[in-house]
Symmetry: C2
Subunit: 133 residues, 2 copies
DNA sequence: CTAGGAGTTCAACATTTGTTGAAGTCAACC
DNA sequence: GGTTGACTTCAACAAATGTTGAACTCCTAG
């Protein structure tokens, strides 16, 4: 059963314009009717939901395209599973990065010297003895 | 000791154009010389580093402005500490969100039906019996 | 005092991720 | 076969986050 842009959009919770955008950027692909209208597959509903989840994980459209390019058209359950695992891995990577930032905030280096007596900035980084006039 | 745009940029590891951008958006503020050149304070080096860290946490410039607006000019160590704590809290929030996405990927709902025999899409979501001609 | 590097403003460009509107075409239902 | 809602393309706009360039001015060093 072929889905129109509107069908797919409704079923996956996005705007039709977003569906067209994803197709234009190679995240989705569609057959065309003789009158040039798009017809999607049922599996594209899943594909589209994956796109949205991947975006929430923090992937750009280009990155999502990469991971979806490994997905055969009409994928088997194992294909979806591998895709899910790769998203999980990516999410863990993003969490690690956030935890690293946490470390930088709370950690030893203090992000800044919290005191500011006299020479906060090493003089060699200063272009010269600027004043305010 | 007043810092020029270039001084501040070098000391905090950003581009001078970014410094001007941050000032234009209220994240930084500067005195002006009689010849209209910006002069920043030493504390602005810290401020700018905080901006970059906050961005890595995922805050937008508008959001960073909010948290920086609570910061007095020439802040005391306690002010920096409170700011750091609020960034830490925000980072934890982002981590939680990622973990929630993780739950959605691996969790019960399966994100999609992994089987696709016949009726993946409930018929009432389909606009009608579309074919491909 | 003057030269030259660094500063100024402003507009344009760049990228990402879409949305909106106009003008025109399709296709499902009666 | 008509009507009408949904589709098509294309261009323009939008917001965020800057960068780049032109044209011009400043200020520090010598």
């Amino acid at each position: 059963m072929a889905l129109t842009v509107g069908d797919l959009a409704r079923a996956s919770g996005v705007n039709p314009s977003a569906v067209r955008f994803y197709e234009a950027h190679g995240l989705l692909s569609a057959e065309r009717t003789s009158g040039n209208q798009r017809r999607f597959q049922d599996a594209d509903v899943c594909r589209t939901k994956v796109i949205r989840v991947a975006q929430r994980v923090g992937l750009s459209v280009a990155e999502i395209r990469q991971v979806l390019d490994d997905l055969p058209p009409d994928p088997a359950p194992g294909d979806w599973r591998r895709l899910a695992e790769s998203l999980v891995a990516e999410a863990h990577r993003r969490i690690s990065q956030l935890q690293q930032v946490l470390g930088e905030i709370t950690g030893g280096e203090k992000l800044c010297e919290l005191e500011e007596p006299a020479g906060l900035l090493p003089d060699r980084l200063r272009s010269s003895g600027r004043h305010l006039a």
